[in-house]
């Protein structure tokens, strides 16, 4: 598809400008581009609504914490939609958009943030591991999973329905962790079917990306011996095409790729953060003008998509907002007594005694279901 490697790229790959103009190379992996843009628009609008609602729920004391994705909708929906159903994802904590594309809705997503769950879903069910909090750790897990796919003979069979790849996602800050460098080294060494998808949102909490790297993050891949590319992370078409292409290469046995999606964290790091302490509003305004959703809307209008399409999606988003609030309040309260059964695969007598003691102290009878 003519994506140049990062060290030869003058500008990050862009296929849809902030003004909604179609530019760059033709799409190779997208079938009907207009239909795809409609789908992306819908997903991005819906995930933004989930994000906005969750933020508000935290402000109302219903969530302990929220890590907003505002501004990163294109990167996440583009990457998530590029996955084949058999592919796996090893994400960090902010990837609500990718989770959404895997079928993880608010009912499962909010538990960790409300403090009712450690995670909230079964990774095997969604082929989506946990929202990793230890920065960078998931990238090694992704590579190990990919080695397992190789051992199982699920790479390089020229069978797109069966061949499988792994997507791992992390931030600009994470690239400084030893674990991430080790994961890239390992993936290169074994030509593991992994796509490293880095959302460079310019900050690791308060620390600007310049503290983490003096050169574009995508350049790192070259040192490890695989391809790195930079893309406009607010351009959903570029995100989709780049990730789809890297996943196809990985499934076919072509080894890893690093994709740096250049984007911006429009909100605070989390609801506990106060970005006014470390960044200027002019910068925030610049990125507001590069909104990932607006450019798709402009393009769709130009393509003649009627106004009802947008009003219908707005209505759907309103319904989803209500669903987020209900789902949050309906999350079952956890029971500490039941957690004693979760520590080992077989219960240990000492722990069982402690569990019984806990239950009698709390006046609750019976074991876990």
């Amino acid at each position: 598809m003519g994506i140049e490697p990062a060290h030869e790229q003058a500008e990050p790959l862009c296929m849809l400008t902030p003004a909604g103009e179609r530019t760059g190379p033709p799409a190779v992996h997208i079938g009907d581009e207009t239909q795809s843009l409609r789908d992306f628009y819908r997903d991005m609008t819906l995930i933004r609504r989930i994000d906005t609602e969750a933020f508000a729920l935290q402000r109302h004391g219903e969530l302990g914490l929220w890590a907003p994705l505002r501004g990163q909708e294109a990167a996440q929906i583009g990457a998530g939609c590029a996955l084949a159903s058999q592919d796996w994802v090893f994400p960090s904590y902010r990837e609500h958009g990718i989770a959404w594309t895997r079928g993880i809705g608010p009912e499962l997503l909010l538990g960790m943030f409300r403090g009712t769950e450690m995670s909230g879903w079964d990774p095997n069910e969604f082929r989506y591991a946990y929202g990793q909090i230890i920065i960078g750790a998931q990238t090694l897990h992704a590579v190990g999973y990919a080695l397992g796919l190789q051992l199982d003979g699920l790479v390089g069979n020229d069978d797109p329905q069966r061949d499988t790849a792994v997507l791992t996602t992390f931030g600009d800050g994470a690239t400084s962790q030893g674990a991430v460098a080790e994961a890239m080294m390992w993936a290169a060494s074994y030509q593991a079917p992994v796509v490293f998808f880095c959302q460079n949102n310019h900050y690791a909490i308060s620390v600007p990306v310049e503290r983490q790297s003096r050169s574009p993050l995508a350049h790192r891949a070259r040192g490890f011996g695989f391809e790195g590319i930079r893309i406009d992370g607010n351009d959903v078409l570029a995100c989709y095409e780049a990730v789809a292409s890297a996943l196809a290469k990985a499934r076919a046995g072509g080894g890893p790729t690093l994709i740096e999606a250049v984007t911006y964290r429009r909100g605070p790091h989390t609801t506990s953060d106060d970005p006014s302490r470390y960044r200027e509003s002019a910068e925030e305004e610049y990125w507001e003008s590069r909104d990932p959703i607006e450019r798709v809307r402009l393009r769709l209008v130009e393509l003649g998509v009627p106004g009802e399409f947008f009003t219908e999606i707005d209505a759907e988003a309103n319904d989803l907002g209500a669903r987020v609030r209900e789902a949050c309040l309906a999350l079952p309260e956890p029971d500490l007594g039941a957690l004693f059964d979760q520590v080992f695969t077989e219960q240990d007598p000492h722990l069982a005694a402690q569990q019984a003691e806990y239950r009698s102290w709390h006046g609750v009878s019976g074991g876990a279901a």
């Binding site: 302990g64 960790m112 943030f113 800050g173 909490i205 308060s206 957690l339 004693f340 806990y358």
Partner: protein, 326 residues
């Protein structure tokens, strides 16, 4: 100067005074500069001491500790922050294999005056890896001093003492007590690595030993019991390794009963070491088994139920009553 300060502010003041007094003191950590740390413990320090002495580092705990080793070898006194307890494990190799051993390995020719500050423990409604109590991991390592603070005064005095020490110190800050107010006398910087007797009476029938975030809980426990006519001694260990247990032995010899409380899981926790040593030293004084009130032997739970996990006044009183009824 005596002042009323929150524990976190007392730490901030201690760091400020250390930076003022010794230009070899340098601070490093994630978000400690411009942001002032996620708990604002380093608030204002970069502004006043500059970005070379108060450094916002790249996101790599292993590197924060590893480079502190080199800075220490060059004569600096790095005070480094690990943003939350759960992230210190990324730097475990550097701490255990290098920071703790260089003095020993070099027959004393190299010193490691490094302070590793770690906001630790639960109770703030956080997500996973933000509520750990890792003290035992470090207390088990020869060559590391492990210190906690449970009052504003200790926060100030002990951070000054830790920075002045030529030994490496893992300095555990009970994050849920950052906002707890207390008196601070800034002339008190010369504390030894001693435990502190917070309450003692010849009438006491039990000794309660704790440290860090449970210090205020222990004081409250003693007050509740006193209101019902029961006196107990309360001892704050403050230094978790090497332990200063003389005051504990002395107390147990008169009370005959010992309860140890900590947030960390009980299994192989600090309480086990305290219990073993008291059993060795005070065997004939003991009137009852030594009891522990601790976190359960499960990973730290989701925050909605963390208060079912954390030792509280009721659980400590229950243990004291069981010891008394034995």
């Amino acid at each position: 100067m005596t002042d009323h300060l929150a524990l976190g502010k007392a730490l901030n003041l201690g760091l400020r005074h250390a930076l003022e007094q010794d230009d070899k003191v340098v601070l490093m950590g994630e978000d400690i500069g411009r942001l002032g740390g996620v708990f604002r413990v380093t608030d204002g320090l970069q502004k006043d001491f500059g970005p070379d002495r108060v450094r916002d580092t790249p996101l790599a705990e292993s590197a924060i500790v590893g480079t502190a080793v080199g800075l220490a070898m060059r004569g600096y006194r790095p005070v480094i922050e690990i943003q939350f307890d759960g992230f210190v494990f990324v730097a475990f190799d550097q701490i255990v294999n290098h920071v703790a051993r260089l003095h020993f390995r070099s027959r004393g020719s190299v010193r490691m005056p490094i302070v590793i500050r770690i906001p630790y423990g639960g109770g703030i409604g956080a997500v996973e890896h933000h509520s750990e109590s890792p003290e035992t991991f470090f207390a088990h390592v020869p060559g590391l001093r492990v210190v906690t603070c449970g009052t504003s005064q200790d926060a100030y005095s002990l951070i000054r003492h830790a920075i002045a020490s030529d030994d490496p110190v893992v300095f555990l800050e009970p994050k849920r007590r950052y906002w707890l107010n207390g008196q601070v006398d800034t002339s008190r910087t010369d504390d030894s690595w001693s435990s502190s007797v917070l309450r003692s009476s010849p009438e006491s029938t039990a000794t309660l030993v704790t440290y860090g975030p449970l210090v205020p809980t222990a004081i409250e426990t003693a007050e509740v019991l006193a209101a019902g006519g029961v006196e107990i001694d309360v001892i704050d260990l403050r230094t978790l390794s090497p332990l200063d247990l003389e005051p504990v032995f002395e107390s147990v010899r008169t009370t005959g009963r010992l309860v140890v409380a900590h947030e960390a899981p009980g299994n192989l926790g600090l309480g086990a070491e305290v219990a073993a040593r008291v059993a060795e030293e005070c065997f004939y004084s003991l009137e009852s088994p030594i009891l522990r009130v601790t976190g359960y032997d499960i990973p730290y739970p989701p925050s909605r139920i963390e208060h079912d996990y954390l030792p509280d006044v009721d659980r400590i009183i229950d243990a004291i009553e069981r010891a008394e009824a034995f």
